[in-house]
């Protein structure tokens, strides 16, 4: 993890133009928005810098993310973009995304999140919003999925619908798809129970060639470090936020906020990630925890440079 510190520079080049003083254009200089643990941290940190700068500058009304150099965005990246868009919109700024080549991932965020990020054909800061089709409510075969679950009672049904799409699009074995359903349901249930969140956002994508499903869920409830802190203190295990996330992932560790909880949900996920050869990333408050088949590691950047007021979990699973 030590080499990650060297990567913590900005991946977004700022372009200001005199003819549009109210607009900041950020040109993404990295080919990926997330994909790896280091990129997840960078993406979040850089998007938060964009948001902080736009909000602190009273003259900035519009923020354009120029993603021309960015070829790929994974489900975790979609959720981080969504999160940043919501922060800008809450602060009264307008967010725009521009991407010259067709891209399923960016089309998804634009079509599903048009209230947050608008598509723009802007050049040099002159914002012209293009016409776009109505927001896509239902995911389509082979497309990226991005949806909120606002009612925990509909969670199983929603996940089942996605599983059907994956099954059809991936030609995956029913057992593998069922395993994926179980894993994302563990994540979502954990979020509803412990994050005390009323709403979660879930994103997913199936990579046909590699037979990998990537899933991500974000909530804005209490974070894992906040929820597990009392139990960690009781057991003499207080530490950084990353230490607290790692502690929450140990067998039998529970916040005790739900009486029937056994501290087995996250452990089950970690076990299946290990068996499956996939990986899992958890970003919560100022902590980061990553698990793959061979190792587990944690990262707490200095200061509060992550500061996610919620929890993002990214799962990468092989389904065939």
């Amino acid at each position: 993890m030590s080499n990650m510190v060297g990567l913590l520079q900005s991946r977004w080049e700022i372009v200001r133009t005199p003819e549009a003083p109210d607009t900041i254009r950020y040109k993404c200089t990295t080919p990926f928005v997330t994909m790896t643990p280091a990129e997840t941290i960078l993406t979040h940190q850089n998007l938060q810098r964009v948001v902080r700068r736009a909000i602190s500058d009273e003259t900035t009304e519009k923020v354009i993310l120029d993603l021309d150099n960015c070829a790929k965005c994974d489900p975790g990246g979609l959720l981080l973009l969504r999160h940043a868009g919501e922060q800008l919109r809450t602060a009264g700024r307008l967010g725009y995304v521009t991407h010259s080549e067709p891209s399923d991932s960016f089309d998804t965020i634009i079509e599903n999140q048009r209230h947050l990020w608008e598509r723009t054909a802007a050049k040099k800061g002159n914002v012209k919003t293009t016409d776009s089709s109505p927001a896509v409510e239902s995911p389509q075969d082979g497309k990226y999925l991005l949806r909120s679950i606002e009612n925990r009672n509909e969670m199983v049904q929603e996940i089942g619908e996605w599983a059907e799409i994956v099954k059809k699009g991936a030609d995956a074995a029913p057992e593998d798809v069922a395993c994926w359903e179980m894993q994302i349901a563990e994540v979502a249930t954990n979020t509803f129970q412990h994050g005390r969140s009323e709403q979660i956002w879930v994103s997913g994508h199936f990579y046909k060639q590699s037979g990998v499903v990537q899933l991500a869920a974000i909530d804005y409830g209490a974070t894992i470090p906040a929820v597990i802190r009392d139990e960690a203190q009781r057991q003499g295990r207080l530490g950084t936020d990353s230490d607290l996330i790692a502690f929450a992932c140990e067998l039998g560790v529970t916040s005790r906020c739900v009486r029937q909880n056994q501290g087995s949900g996250l452990v089950s996920l970690i076990q299946s990630v290990g068996i499956n050869g996939g990986r899992m990333q958890i970003l919560s408050r100022n902590g980061f925890f990553h698990v793959n088949k061979t190792r587990k590691y944690r990262k707490t950047p200095p200061g509060a440079s992550l500061s996610l007021h919620g929890t993002l979990i990214i799962l990468c699973l092989k389904v065939r």
Partner: protein
């Protein structure tokens, strides 16, 4: 009582007839409630068929809530509940269920 005047003691349960597709811990509790209130149930060698239930329902929280409810409302059947034979669609589910049940420790109620 059956039509012959004898007791109909059942020990084969189809879960899909008793649970819905709601929040997994709620559905786990619901399954426990239906068993507790079923006076025809033979708790010995109970066999519950989970086949056909959504895979997203059959997670650790479902089984933890099920056992916790039995422990709270019918503790006399708790050990029998831990010995239930669960039939699943896929082998990984059977393995998971066995692990979750073996690990379960009832929580004290307030």
């Amino acid at each position: 009582m059956n039509e012959f005047g004898g007791n109909v003691m059942s020990n084969n349960i189809r879960a899909i007839d008793r649970v819905g597709s709601g929040f997994p811990p709620d559905e786990g509790e619901r399954l426990a409630e239906t068993l507790i209130s079923d006076n025809r149930l033979n708790w010995d060698a109970l066999d519950i068929d989970l086949r056909g239930c959504p895979a997203g329902l059959l997670i650790s929280a479902f089984f933890n809530a099920f056992l916790q409810k039995i422990h709270e409302d019918a503790s006399e059947h708790f050990e029998q509940a831990k010995a239930i034979k669960w039939q699943t669609d896929f082998p990984f589910q059977e393995k998971n269920v066995a692990e979750w049940i073996a690990r379960f420790k009832p929580q004290a109620t307030a």
